[in-house]
Structures are given as C-alpha cells and as structure tokens.
C-alpha cells in the first residue's frame, strides 16, 4: 500500500514518516524510501504493508492508497 504524508522537506525520511504515521520501523519499506509527490505541498509517499496501512494514525496521513498491478499494453 502507499501512504501519503506531509513532512518537513529537510527531514523527509522513512523514519520520520513512520513516527508521524504511528507505525513501527519495520512497517515502512525503507528500501523504497520517501518519494516527493508534491514538493510545493511537502507531500511524500511511502510504501507500507497492508497490515500496517490499517494501523496508520488517521491524523498522521494525508491518505492510504492502493498499489495496483501495472502491465504493458
């Protein structure tokens, strides 16, 4: 699953995201990292397990989103 979270650009990291989302260190895909999706809004995406997505702190995340399969046309 993908979770979007607002982070301070100077401190954008998977650990900062995990803290803000109320998740454990191992709930976040650290290899994937944080991806800035809207730099002007300081909005980032992290990848988490499905189980972790259900435990995301509601006031910490902008949203929890699907990670569907993509294929070539």
């Amino acid at each position: 699953m993908l979770v979007t979270v607002e982070l301070d650009p100077g401190e954008a990291s998977t650990d900062a995201a995990a803290r803000k989302l109320g998740l454990r260190h191992e709930d976040v895909d650290h290899e994937y990292g944080v991806v800035g999706i809207d730099p002007d809004a300081h909005l980032y995406a992290v990848r988490v397990t499905r189980d972790a997505a259900d435990r995301v702190r509601p006031d910490g995340a902008e949203g929890v989103y699907s990670d569907p399969k993509i294929e070539p046309f």
Binding site: M1, L2, T4, E31, Y32, G33, V35, G36, I37, D38, P39, D40, L43, A45, R47, G63, V64, Y65, S66, D67, P68, K69, I70, E71, P72, F73
Partner: protein
Amino acid sequence: MRAAGAERFAEEPRGIEESFTMAADVPFSIDASYDPVQLPAPLQPEGVMRLALDQPLEFSFEPALSTYVVRGTIPDADAPQTAMTLAATHPDIVGVYSDPVIEPTLTCGDSPPQGDADDVARLLSAPALAEAGLDGSGVRVAVVDSGINVEFLRSRGRSPTLDAAASWAPPRVPTAAGEHPVAHGSMCAFDVGIAAPNATLLDFAILAGATSIAGALSDAVAAYGRLLGLLRDEQPALPALVVTNSWGVFDPGTDFAVGSPSNYTDNPRHPFNVIVASLEAAGADILFAAGNCGVECPDGRCRFASRPITGANSHPKVLSIGGVDVAGERVGYSSQGPGRLASQKPDVCAYTHFAGSGVKPADTGTSAACPVAAGLVAAVRTKHSRQALPPQNLRSLVQRTAHDSGGVGFDFDYGWGVVDTDTLLAALP
C-alpha cells in the same frame, strides 16, 4: 433478373424504371442510380447433378443466359412475404436477396503488420522534421517500461544515446540501464526514434522482472519521483523532458473500488495521479497509451466493464494516445473514451501495428502508438523549449492540429484525430 429483362438493360441500363414495371400493389422501389450488374451464368459440368461453388466452374457471358442484379428497397414490415410475392408475380425475377451492411475489417491483435516503420516515418513527415533540424537532439525521452537494450537497437540500425546515470530501475531488477532483456521497452525506444532519432533516452525499467513483464504502481511513483528531481534540481535546467508510458492497470480487482478514498483509477488524489500533475507542472511532456481494451477486439486481460481509460492514462495533464494503422483507421483494440479522470480521452491517435522494431513481427498496441507520438513531441522540443512552450500549450497544439477522423470534432474513438506533423509545424510559434 432473367435475360428477357436483361436485354433491355444491356441496351439501356439507365431505363430500368421503364423496363421493369411492377404490379401496383407490390411495394418495391427500384434504385435507378444502381447500374444492373451482369452475373454470368455458371455452366453445369457434364454428369454433375448439382452445381456447387467448391467445384471447377465455367461461366458464360451470353446475355441470353445471364441474370442481372438490380437494387431496390422493400419496407421492413412483412419483408419476407413481400420478397416472396415479388418472385412469384414477375416472371423475370430469379430471386430476391438481402443487401446487408458491410464494414471494413478492423486491425486486431492477431492481424499481420500493416506497413512498416518507414511508412510511419513518412506519415510523420520525418524528412520534414529532420530538414527543420527537429530530430530530438538535446531532448531527453524517458521510456518508462520494461527496459531498453541498446545493442538490440543498434542491430536495428539505430544509434541511440542513453543517459545511464539519469536512468533508474527498482532494486529487484538485475540488469543495468540499456542492458535489459529485449522486450516491450526496446520496442518503445525504437518507436520514439522514428521521429526523434537523436533524442537521449532515459531507461526507467519499472516493468522488468525475473518472471514477468509487470510491476506495481508504487514503482511508477518512485520513477516519477526521480524524474521530478531531474527537472527541479538539475542545473542548468533541462530544455525538455518527454515521458512515454505504454502501460496501465488492466484489472480493477487489484485496486480499491471506485468511490473508495484509496482507489487509483478514478481518484485524482492517488499519489501517482498527484505526482503526474507535479511532473507536468515542473515542465515535462507526459504521454500515456490509452490502452488496448477497445470494444471491437479487446486484449484478453481487459477486465473493466466500461471506460477502460483509467487513472493516469486518462489524466488531464497528459496526452492519452489511441492507435490507428498506417491507413489511418482506428485499430479495433484501441481503448475508447470517455476517460475516468478526464472525460475527453483519448486526446489523439498515432500509428501502430506496423513492422518496426523487430521485437515481434509487429509493433502493436497503443503501446507502440504512444512512443511514436512521444517521438514527435520530442522532435518539436528540439527547438521549442518547455519554458517557451509550456506542456499544456504543446498539448493543445497537438490536439488542435490533429487530422480529424471519425466524427466531426472530438470523438471517443479518435479523440481530436490523428497526429498531423505538417499542420503542427505550421502552428508552432
């Protein structure tokens, strides 16, 4: 009709109304604009009791032996009875037959290639582009796909430039940029080069995998994050970045339901749809294939019951590319609109289903059409920077100058029409 009536037609075929009188109560309207067509008489071979089309036949063109086809109309109501009455009431009528609608056969997935890359180059006015110095030089084209194989492209006569340092693949991908297995991505890279042979390729192998060519949308998010960094961080600023995407979601079962806040296909707030908007705002020209779920002959993987142009493939900030063959006819698998994020999709169509890269016998799908269009965009960007001509303005020009096909104006089969290089060049500032 029999020859008795036919002789009159042979002498004066335009006088059919006078030659062919009907009983007043038989509702048959003859089409005087349709010249009677002589059907030569099959000669029954000796010893053969019953004529059949699968046996050798000889034919006689003797008017006395021929029959003639005329065209007319009878009312739909009681048509079978009327047809029987016609045959019974006029001695010269041999038979009454239907005249069904015929339509051209659409190119589908298993159709042989229609034309080749040289035909596409001609249709794209590639020589005119080259003469104008519009060859993609200095323009980066990110092929977000299964990965590029540069040696393969060279074996096909291309001289690609690859920026390996700016390329990326997820950690699971074992091969390096430009060295990926020859597959879908190499086809896309080849097709970019039809109009933009000197573009610099960026290899974003998000669909590469050990066992299948597929991926997860989160890898596309990561890829776009890197592309966004290129545009925002690199100094001096890139003159142009074109991003071509020949992939999408086939199965809504891998997504949350429409209406769920977690959904992707219909949700502008999904992080991938957000980052597409961010990348476009930063100055990238983004193109997505419309998909291969056209109603006439959809790909077997299509699972959307309707509106198969979904998610970023239907994003308002991208060009959604449908497919036409080299005759300009929409291929039967090219997805039709409306789109889900933006209704007026596809935007335009470009060429597909031609003998091109050699990865397979034909470069097919809207997968091929998208990089063909991306190459044209890259060619234009050679001398028209994103600063001077913002992506939104270029999209509008591509739409406005497309050759209108299908219905008048926009339609959900062809969008605004088929990309038209000559008209586009004339409209550039």
